[in-house]
Amino acid sequence: MSDQYVADLEAWVDEHGDALFSYALSRLRNPASAEDVVQETFLAAIRSSDGYFGKSSPRTWLIGILKHKIVDLIRKESREQPAQEIETMEEPEELFFDRKGHWRIKPVDWQVHPGKILEQKEFMDVLLQCLEHLPDRLHRLFVLRELEEMDTEEICKDLEITSTNLWVMLYRARMRLRGCLTENWFGGEPC
């Protein structure tokens, strides 16, 4: 391995470190884990035999490695905390509907101007906070599905769950998130 390559990578720690760390933190919640995967990413980069030969931008290349590290970690955490039976999980949807299946509180129109709101840093911060408050299992699943845009079959295989469980859990994550956003950003009742 050339000294030049090591020096390049060190410079990349300064240049791309924040981007990699932000990316990891938004998906893992825990700063220590996020720092760990960023370090593993650079170590994987230094070990990769062909190294980086201008295939893509360095950041794209590093983020590509980082994604794998994050998914590996999520998979590992998921194995360490085995899934309870779906029936025993609390059901947020019970809060939102009455016994006949009618809405208890009317969903409020968010009146979002597409694009505009998404440019606001404050909105993204609230969204990330809402995401952080999801229970662990829902959080892992939702990150893989909506941030990493992974295929549902792939997620089922990785996390060893059935597709029926996956659909139910994604539904619960979405119900919670829209409740959280309505309450904390759109200023409505928590529904």
Partner: protein, 80 residues
């Protein structure tokens, strides 16, 4: 006739798989008649958009100086 609760679940599911034809039709019929579920459907789509924008947002959290140094040291050791 589907209830709002059932529709809310199917609307979410439709983001993760293609619903069978009959279910899709039943959801459509319900949505035509129920403005609350239409609002909910709009929210789920807005949520998906927001997550995807969030996934691509600019760096907002700095990597600490300590972590930076630790990583550089690890690179030096690994490079030897």
């Amino acid at each position: 006739m589907l209830t709002c609760k059932e529709v809310s679940k199917l609307v979410s599911e439709s983001l993760d798989r293609d619903l069978p034809f009959r279910q899709r039709m039943a959801v459509q019929v319900h949505l035509m008649m129920c403005s609350m579920c239409r609002t909910y459907q709009k929210q789920t789509l807005q949520l998906r958009d927001a997550m995807r924008t969030c996934a691509r947002r600019e760096p907002s959290e700095p990597l600490s100086k300590d972590a930076r140094q630790r990583i550089k040291n690890a690179l030096k050791t690994a490079g030897k």
